[in-house]
Amino acid sequence: MTTRMFGSAIRRREDPRLITGSALYTDDMTLPGMLHAAMLRSPYAHARIRSIDASAALEAEGVVAVYTSADAEGELNPVPCAWLLPNSGLVVADYPSLAKDTVRYVGDIVAVVVAETRYQAYDALDLIDVDYDPLPAVTSPEQAAQPDAPQLHENVPGNQAFHWTLTGGDVEAAFANADVVLHEHIVQQRLIPNAMETRATLAHYIQASGELTVWNTTQNPHILRFVSSAVTGVPEDRLRVIAPEVGGGFGSKIAAYPADFITMLCSKKLGRPVKWAETRSENYQATTHGRDHVQEVELAATKDGKITGLRAKVWSGMGAYLSLAAPGIPTILHGLMLSGVYDIPAIQEDVYGIHTNTTPVEAYRGAGRPEATFMLECLVDRLAKELGLDPAEVRRRNFIPAFDNGHPVVTGLTYDSGNYQGALDKLLDKAGYQDLRRQQAEARENGRYLGLGLATYVEICGLGPSQVAGAIGFQGGLWESAIVRFHPSGKVHVFIGASPHGQGEETTFAQIISSELGVSPDDVKVVHGDTDNTPMGWGTYGSRTTAVGGAALAVTARKIRDKAKIIAAHLLEAAVEDMDYEDGKFFVKGSPDQAKTIQEVALMANVAWNMPAGVEAGLEASTFYDPPNFVYPFGAHLAVVEVDPETGQVDLQRYVCVDDCGPQINPMIVEGQVHGGVVQGVGQALWEGAVYDEDGQLLTGAMLDYAIPRADRLPNIEVHSTVTPSPHHPLGVKGIGEAGTIASTVAVYNAVMDAVAPLGVQRIAMPFTPERVWRAIQDAKEA
């Protein structure tokens, strides 16, 4: 039996603890003497704080301490922004953990209560008396950019945190010579990530030694340590961050947050463990949101349907403060992807990062790429309608032809490999596209409104080459690391710097080891999430864990194999050049019986009784892998909807997709990522949207109001794939975590617009609530 498990749909190694309730998430942790923190958050979107009176709270039962900004003076540095976009006039406004004299969004922290129990901590919140002087607030990025808008930060005039521009090719000429120019005004509504586990921190500071241990719901423990050290002043060697089990992130657990630092401060001051876990309402108010773009976009094309230019202006809401990676999302991850799967000769974009009196915005699954894909794909569909062509045909006329080793686009990127027409062809075939079009025509004759929506996409992931990271202002590297250690019994520990939280790398990484080194995945334990026992790494986001961390692991495994071969040769008294390796066995060429297994070699390497001269004991290797390029997964999706014109209800009837993430390590896990990703994007199209009122109150403040997809409103997702390896990844693999989300929102959008096209509807804002669809139909009737 082979132990090469690459490509097998094996069950996940992380599941036994999860299905039995034995996994420990941050809020499941309890330490002796542990206290509980609760944050007092501003009920105003914008106000001056006149005074805070905590005397009654301090008297309350069980209360140990109440701290405000004065107590953090000299103890907590501002919350940093780590993506300092160059050549954009970026200004980073002061972002204190505890608001000093001004609150800038509903949820800004004003005080913290520490008490013996969580109930007592929340009781005491009600007893703190804060005198606010409300100020005018603004919540839309477009409005906040107007000259008369309320100003959030003194040093950020016009609320403009940055203005980033991208120009490639001759855009003026493209538009001047165009046969067709189409214009769209798109609102990428603000979304709430809704990881099922809300955020939490448990901090334990030992005053005697100055050591701080932090358990946190983070996607990137090493970044959190780096940043926490900078904010709290606790040196990195005394600061240990542990991401225990983490219940989903989707980008919302990338940032290091004020509440985390405040919890650390409480423990530091009190010398006792302090735990804070947010409620869901608090999560909605204060854990980062996603999207929030207002886009003005124009497309130039010939009468044959060839796209010749794209021009866009984007007002990107940043929220009240710049979250850790926020400036990079609407720019690097969005603007640079505006050529999509097409050869567009001229592209220009202006992105304005604008502060509003709202929750800070960060990465949210797809992060920038769904917003780019949406822009392009809805315009491509518009172009098809304008020219009377099928949307699949317009795409065919513009696709970049298949390539397997690099294709430059006008935004400056070089895609690694792609076959966009191949993916679309497979999709049309699997979906029975022509039949669906016939069904649609029949349905229309019977007064039923079926719609088909295509989306073809390419995404940038596997962030990324560190030199590029530096050039684009990211205040870190983007390599990943791995240590592989063989024990005497031949069992393996893998230590990685990335920090999976549901994606299944404890399994897929064991599969990589199994295929590279011939051990059973059951004999491999993948360790992650603890800065004290894993090598530095930049974390799990942007579909990078397998794309970069997986590469680090493959390279490391090959180093092990090289060393093991030398030891095996020595044991077999053969020359290294005469050795062959297959499936966990080293043997003399032509004599497969003269062999040593990797386990035998591991034993010898560890006992080291008989090692080749000059070879160190141990069978262990490590790699810091800095990728030479990003990876570019791609695919084609189709949504089929029916719209009830009487009520405006949209029914998603079918969803078919073809995704290409290169060779699949575990197809079951790939399929699961696609399911979840697609459904999240469907959520944006049909149900989700954070809504603020004019005063900056979050009207969708609880799960009672904000609708995330539920089981009963969804069809099965039909998942297919093509395989185009990345030329530069040691395993050829790309990434699959975000693909579904990147494609599905606009696929559903295009399907709905296709359904209502005969009714004369041009555009509808997302999410497609029945009322919005109904209203668009009414307006079209009247027009």
Partner: protein, 157 residues
């Protein structure tokens, strides 16, 4: 107030505040952290447990209301180290990713199979409408419940 609950067959006699939610009794006093809290408003279902054999949201039940009752949590599903067919099926069919919704999802599925041992796919989807998952898109959860139903029916069909 003094209460007595039997959780997964083990008796707990404790003094609690009347305001304490059952989920906090389970997690904080019972040491059974498998039951999760995912929302404030009885939407997400992460806290689903069986109260006298019937699925309830333990975040919307006071401990004092459960006084004298039997509670089953995810920790009580496997017997003698052998996984419950639902647990086994969620594992086989990749019915979970981050695992946070899983205990509630499994117990809600338990409720479904109690009342409908051979559910259709739409019936499964309908029965799980009160349990939210942000990772799986539900598809593999539905597959898991189907497989469990088959196993529990004795592998017939």
């Amino acid at each position: 107030m003094k209460v007595q609950l039997t959780i997964n067959g083990r008796r707990f006699d404790r003094e609690v505040e009347p305001r304490q939610l059952l989920v906090h009794f389970l997690r904080d006093l019972g040491g059974l952290t498998g039951t999760k809290v995912g929302c404030d408003t009885s939407q997400c279902g992460a806290c689903t447990v069986l109260l006298d054999g019937v699925a309830v949201k333990s975040c919307t039940c006071l401990t004092v209301q459960a006084d004298g009752c039997q509670v089953t949590t995810v920790e009580g599903l496997s017997r003698d180290g052998k996984l419950h067919p639902l647990q086994e099926a969620f594992w086989n069919k990749h019915g979970l990713q981050c695992g946070y919704c899983t205990p509630g999802m499994i117990l809600a599925s338990h409720e479904l199979l109690r009342t409908n041992p051979d559910p259709s796919e739409p019936e499964i989807r309908h029965a799980l409408e009160g349990n939210m998952c942000r990772c799986t898109g539900y598809q593999n959860i539905v597959r898991s419940v189907k497989e469990a139903a088959k196993t529990m029916a004795g592998g017939s069909q």
